[in-house]
Amino acid sequence: MSDPTMAAEGVPAGQTGDYITAAEHATGTKEKTRSLWSDAWHDLTRRPLFVISMAVIAFLVVVAIFPSWFAEENPRLRDLDRARIGPNVPYLATVLAIIGSGITVIAAILATVGKLRDGVSRKMAPYVAGIGGVLLLAGGLINSVTLYLVIGALVFACGVVSGVPKVSRLLRGNAGTWGVVALLAVAGGAGLFIALDDLSTVEVGAAFGYDQQGRDIYARVVYGTRYTLLVGFSATLLTVLIGSLVGILSGYFGGWLDSLLSRIGEVFFGLPFVLGAIVILSAFRSAGFDSAPAIVAMVVMSISVLSWPVSMRIMRSAVIAAKQQDYVKAARALGASSARIIFRHLLPNCLAPVLVYATIALGAFIGAEATLSFLGIGLRDPAVSWGVMIADSRDYIRASPLLLIFPASFLTLTVLVFVTIGDAVREALDPKLK
């Protein structure tokens, strides 16, 4: 950072008038001041993977809140006549192609914006085009539609060409870039046109097929998003709240309180996660918690009770490190009370590591919920989650693997997205990596 007023500091203090004008001149242009957080946000919005992950999460959250917008079928409607019917391949392929083409069009728009106004979109466009291409290719592959395959390959190639630095050098100059933009726009438009046309010829519905009890898998995946995310978010929130509070107390006050709280934390830390959760959940299972909210609450509680020591340790060490800083001493020297020092001065400085843990833990907790559900002690009917679906499919894995593959791929994608975000946040908040 070049500080324009550095020069002004050198002027002897006597000549006040002179250097004030000099400094005013130097700082005349209004530069926006940035805090650590706005700086990190600025950095994050320039990472394509972060932006794409956030978009995916935003979409998942919308699905979780309004599942009926995305699936008309009732996820609990059983019809044994249609048990384990495979996916509606032509419909699925067409929908994939429509989404892929739509994303390709978005990539073209991003590339245009990036070309006209230098910005994030320039970096994003290749990734988005790549995703669009893969979806088109997938649509073409599962239903052997040559047109989708050709368009998909073309779009994917565009993404690679403009995304890989060595290759993109070939396209330097206006003609090359505009050529790629035009190609993307035409390919996306054509794909959209063809796929929408195909949609009228295929039978609509049951994109993912039906499960062993004849329930629509697609509808269940959509409705399962709600419970999966609900468990993930609540467990993370609760874990971080308990952990941070205990961590702050033991880090700030130290002494016997620290020893006591740390030992308690270690006891919980020592419990094996799966075993502990099995004990807690099976103990309360017989206690008659049968409504969906009660089941969710039990799962959330057992995850948090067993994982808060991690966030407590992170918070505690952050507080101990920050407590040594002179600004805490300075705050005390100016007569600030303990509560004020903890919540106004320490907390904002200790939040970063816990926040990073929280984003990564969110993915892990979604996985943990699936694990517990798979073991038959987590969520269960009437609550639908991806973990429950995976558990239901366990006896049919060899006969109809698709029962497993659809919920499992959504689970994997979601966990991956949260871990990616956690990684990006960690890098953005770590000054050493800048």
């Binding site: 950072m1 007023t5 805090s35 001493k329 300075a330 705050a331 007569g335 004020r340």
Partner: protein
Amino acid sequence: MTANTSESVLTDPTTNGQDGPLLEVRDLHVEFRTRDGVAKVLNGVSYHVDAGETLAVLGESGSGKSVTAQTIMGILDSPPAFVTGGSIKFRGQELLKLSPEKRRLLRGDGIAMIFQDALSALNPVFTVGFQIEEQLRIRKGMSKAEARKRAIELLDLVRIPNAKGRVRQYPHEFSGGMRQRAMIAMSLALDPQLLIADEPTTALDVTVQAQIMDLLAEIKNERQMGLILITHDLGVVAETADRIAVMYAGRIVEHGDARSVYKAPGHPYTIGLLNSLPRLDQKGQTLETIKGLPPSLLNIPSGCPFHPRCPQAAPVCSTTVPGNHDLGNGRYSKCHFAEEVVRNG
């Protein structure tokens, strides 16, 4: 957290003793109880500061300068630090007997402190303005707008250019000298009567050092504050201090007015300190140093703690702890041969 509008323990007229010094530290003992044993960090420190006066506390690292200051402020971490004896009187009021809450309210309001490294003493996540305004809002009950106005005035007072724009900036956007100025502004916000500056210029370059010292001296004169200047830089002291207290191994080994201590030091340690200053009139000479290391506070030498390093040590030095030798005019030295040392200078 009390958001009282009149948070002050100083309004009580009975405690407002006008006679006697602003701050009087008497025979202060502090020890650090560590795993390796008890470190006697302060062994009977006594000094006083009057309003409008600058006392410079000199000494090597580990001599107890900062611990004394932090004991006065009451911000030592306990454990490991324990005050084992002595008294600290601020305007006639015994600080060591005040309740923690009353002491807290005295901080900032009565006694304020400036730290050595202003970057780490300013909270990185808040704007400089916020950090000044916070105290004004909580302690003086000012509104946000009033506090902002006052913060700009304070930044102007410490000569931060373009104070209006600067209040909204974060500490990392300030240069080293400006951070120290901001720190001073922060400590002045509640109009303290005593300001303790703990090595305020150590982290700065020489020209900025001079500016900061001038600024401190000026503010002190304007407000008739007491100023305790803790430093190991004799150059800084020579210009600004009224009186000097030299510390060694947790005690004041020499005390007197600045001029006469410089002219004719009364303790071999002070001589050693003065000799280890580089001088402009003697070119090409190796800098003199004090031989040896400061003593371990876990194991302070018998007799005079300075005797293992003292060029003039006699047998009596290793057996008997020297008392205060009065050198007249408020000067004293803890050396068996103080009078001789002054004469031979």
